[in-house]
Symmetry: C2
């Protein structure tokens, strides 16, 4: 067991039984999700935008253009909150009130540091590519110093984080179980379709195995 | 054409050609997505959490338990930012640098008002159920006043909002198009699996048609 210490902000109060503080369980959610939502305070008001992320060890990396207003605000003002959410199913209860969703959701609080060390920055960028497109890195044109300098990378330590998870069937009012209403769960996940080849690919270049392999994955 | 007036906050500056201000285009993203991420400023620091939403006319509704800390902060402090993101594909370029995702993303800024009028509140809650589970409402145990009072509903006017959209193939460096690297797009969407029936359903109650119908939808 390796729990992330619970703080005032990470303690799940509402439906406390859904709270998760085990480090590996939080990390598994972060690692599975492709998209995260990063929020900052900008001139006293909230701002939240989606981004791609990756975890390396106990650091969460997010990246974008050096012109990205959110990342610049995060770098300058430091305090960020990152939400990472995976939808697992629709919970179809006998009343509207008890309709819900099954989900795994992680939230991270921390201060964002700009990654300036070229080696760490390249490793983080490679990891982001490998997170979005597993196994693809060895087939790409290698990263140049211009590429690395053309990207803003921030790291957030995974020191203040927790997760919230809902699984299973609807929880209806006791008397509603006597109603002849079908209830259950509709599981949902990420669907991968057939890859579309760039018309500008050189003749004879076909869809590589690493891309075909993703279609066979049935995880989120 | 019905554009949402562009403000300092909603103007897409980075990759401005991806900006969308047409009201219907922003609304279509909000209507298609199930999950939204709501952020508030809490004691000077950012907080963002996922929630379910629905749009009715020019209002965005979000809801949760009256004990939900985020919603309470939103109600008390008013300023919220809501991000609604749909992932459409992985953009697989010839370099790591140009890897990206195709997406449709809406962002809404505004002040959250608590909905206290019972009729509007019930209509909003019904609309949220219908958004998550289209066509299911007529088959449910009707909503009670206790249900309505047991939920906190906030509305945010859709007056300051915009969207950002990426579509299409990778945009690689000119010289990289000469490399024999496969590039393209892997389209992704929401996968709906077989419904799981609640073991507590009454005998003879089978999966209704409205639930079976969702499986045939291939949209996000």
């Amino acid at each position: 067991m390796n729990e992330i210490p619970v703080t005032e902000r990470t303690k799940v109060r509402r439906l406390a039984e859904r709270g998760r503080y085990e480090r590996q369980e939080v990390y598994d959610i972060i690692d599975e999700a492709l998209v995260s939502h990063v929020s900052v305070v900008e001139e006293g008001r909230p701002l939240v935008l989606p981004t791609l992320h990756v975890r390396r060890g106990d650091l969460l990396y997010i990246h974008g253009s050096p012109a990205n207003a959110l990342l610049r605000a995060a770098r300058d003002r430091s305090d960020v909150c990152v939400a990472i959410t995976i939808l697992d199913g629709l919970v179809l209860a006998r009343s509207g009130f008890h309709h819900s969703v099954n989900y795994r959701s992680a939230v991270v609080f921390g201060r964002a540091d700009e990654v300036n060390d070229l080696e760490e920055k390249q490793a983080a960028l490679d990891a982001i590519v490998d997170h979005v497109a597993p196994g693809r890195l060895p087939f790409l044109r290698p990263m140049t110093e211009k590429d690395i300098k053309g990207t803003l990378v921030l790291s957030v330590p995974l020191e203040e984080a927790s997760a919230k998870v809902r699984t299973g069937m609807p929880k209806d009012e006791p008397e509603d179980y006597d109603l002849p209403i079908w209830a259950g769960v509709l599981p949902v996940g990420v669907q991968r379709y057939q890859p579309l080849s760039d018309p500008k690919n050189l003749p004879g270049v076909t869809v590589p195995q690493h891309v075909l392999d993703w279609r066979n994955k049935q995880t989120n």
